[in-house]
């Protein structure tokens, strides 16, 4: 186990220089995520035009892995359709379970090194689990709730 597997350059860069930090108001999807074990917290907000993500922002506090993953998520989903975003969430979660290929995920593949550090996997998946729940709630017309890694272990 080498630390370089966990703290890849691209991850440290997103942590030190987070992209799309802030909150969209109004937004079409707003969802809170929390990892009670670590105290990681974030709020994701997404604006859609038709079926397409035109903007995504996140704010929150937490470890490098949770914050870098959220930053990378906002970049990865912008410009994609909701179906494409769902596909990406599925592919990301599969990669983090060790059940899917990483090559189609671009920069996000850097997070697969987290798999070797089991207690940190939930840090990496927090933003993704939260986004999935936000999309589900929007599709069902429900009010947003708070997602925690304890209710969905991904």
């Amino acid at each position: 186990m080498a630390l370089d597997d966990l703290y890849r350059e691209v991850i440290l860069d997103h942590y030190a220089h987070p992209r799309n930090r802030g909150r969209l108001d109004p937004a079409d999807v707003t969802v809170e995520g929390a990892n009670p074990l670590c105290g990681d917290e974030l709020v994701l907000s997404v604006r859609l035009e038709g079926d397409r993500v035109v903007a995504a922002r996140f704010e929150g506090r937490g470890c490098s892995i949770s914050q870098a993953s959220a930053s990378m998520l906002t970049e990865a989903i912008t410009g994609k359709s909701v179906d494409e975003v769902r596909g990406l969430i599925g592919a990301f979660k599969a990669m983090m379970r060790g059940a899917g290929p990483a090559d189609s995920l671009g920069d996000l593949a850097a997070l697969q090194g987290v798999r070797k550090f089991p207690v940190r996997i939930k840090c990496a998946t927090l933003a993704w689990v939260a986004l999935e729940q936000g999309l589900d709630e929007r599709a069902a017309g429900r009010a947003p709730t708070r997602t925690t890694t304890e209710t969905d272990p991904a």
């Binding site: 630390l3 966990l6 703290y7 440290l12 030190a16 220089h17 490098s64 550090f117």
Partner: protein
């Protein structure tokens, strides 16, 4: 030879390696390592005289009972209790506090009564009182913590009223390391007609305790933090308080006679020890107490003071590191919590782990205190008698490595 180096060999676990590096154990505030004499005593109990206490009419049962009650006497001497019957064995501090809340609290508290806590309490000295207050319609009040990590004792005087029934306060903070002036707090609480419960989980392992001098009414402690086994610990309380308290748990061992509708109960401490107690835990805890007293609390406290002073001084050289709590070693124990500007506590702990250094990261069961300092988590290094200056040097070198790793990425892209 300094104390840490002298006793280190007594602790088998400290000889192991982690990730190919020698283990540097700096998480004794979470749990302590165990000396060989404690491990041998545990083995001896199960190999030689494992039997249930207070019931068997045979030799090894009598032996187990005698050793169990002798352990009570040892703990009573350790804390300077008036008599052995003032010690109730529990699974640890948490159960001891819940015992007081569930027995004394439920029998005593009325709607509108008040309990005074402090912002630096561990969740185990907050949540039991919240549950009790909700049941009884009582109010909780909190003594604030100053920026320097000390209790604001002026505020205590304002918080105490004729409705205050209890002041529950930690002796030594598991986060800040602060040692609180229990005697002063107890005198003020008693003047207001309130009782005093002391959470001594972090103090009993490190300093000589005299419950008479402290002026406490209840004192809770854990065995596993004082070189004993997990699942051991106890409650000390003044005997007349215990005598007036109803049972906490019902079951075997604690009764005199059981009838269809009701039962009568034994005198303390057995009234509060329903079921088979942690026999091995109690006996071996006494062995741990003997070991600590053999080394001597004066020597332990002096060595830990030296180590903490050394650590505080060395940590000053780490750029961007902020210590939560007292930054000088006076009235301060061996827990040092800190945050760094470039790295989250979990990342700090992760990088240190790769160097074989074990520290704690998170809220350390003290969310109120972390919120008061404006952070959600901190990293904590904590020492015990077996730590050395080399352990502190390894920590400081590790923190410089953390800084290098995370500032590498902080350059403008």
């Amino acid at each position: 030879m300094e104390l840490g180096a002298r006793v280190r060999g007594d602790f088998p676990l400290l000889a192991r390696t982690v990730h190919g590096k020698p283990l540097v154990y700096l998480d004794s505030a979470a749990t302590s390592q165990k000396p060989r004499v404690v491990l041998d005593a545990l083995q001896e109990y199960y190999c030689r005289y494992n039997a249930n206490v207070h019931r068997g009419i045979y030799a090894i049962a009598e032996e187990a009972t005698a050793r169990y009650e002798a352990a009570r006497a040892t703990l009573a001497r350790l804390l300077h209790a008036a008599r052995p019957e003032e010690i109730v064995f529990t699974r640890g501090t948490t159960e001891a506090i819940n015992l007081v809340a569930g027995s004394w609290g439920r029998a005593t508290l009325r709607a509108g009564d008040e309990i005074v806590l402090t912002e630096m309490e561990h969740h185990s000295n907050i949540v039991p009182w919240q549950l009790l207050a909700a049941e009884k319609g009582a109010r909780l009040k909190y003594v604030p913590v100053t920026d320097a990590g000390r209790l604001d004792l002026d505020a205590l005087d304002r918080l105490l009223t004729e409705r205050t029934r209890l002041v529950a306060v930690v002796h030594q903070s598991n986060v800040l390391g602060t040692v609180n002036p229990i005697r002063e707090i107890a005198d003020r609480a008693h003047a207001a007609g309130a009782l005093v419960l002391v959470d001594a989980a972090q103090s009993v392992p490190h300093q000589a305790i005299d419950v008479q001098q402290l002026g406490a009414d209840f004192l809770a402690f854990s065995g596993h933090k004082m070189l004993g086994p997990t699942g051991s610990g106890g409650l000390w309380a003044r005997y007349e308080l215990l005598e007036a308290m109803p049972p906490y748990h019902g079951g075997g061992e604690m009764i005199v006679r059981v009838d269809y509708e009701r039962s009568t109960f034994k005198a303390p401490p057995h009234r509060f020890e329903a079921g088979t107690p942690p026999i091995a835990g109690a006996i071996v805890l006494a062995v741990a107490a003997d070991y600590l007293q053999g080394v001597g609390f004066e020597a332990i406290a002096a060595w830990e003071h030296t180590l903490v002073a050394y650590a505080l001084e060395r940590l000053r050289d780490v750029p961007g590191l902020r210590i939560l709590g007292p930054t000088t070693p006076e009235q301060r124990g061996g827990a040092i919590s800190f945050v760094m500007d470039v790295a989250h506590p979990h990342d700090i702990a992760q990088v240190l782990d790769q160097e074989g250094i074990a520290i704690r990261a998170g809220h350390h069961c003290a969310q109120l205190l972390h919120r008061r300092f404006g952070v959600e988590a901190s990293a904590r290094a904590s020492v015990h008698l077996y730590n050395t200056r080399e352990d502190i040097d390894a920590l400081v070198a590790g923190l410089h490595a953390v800084r290098r790793l995370f500032t590498r990425a902080s350059r403008p892209v």
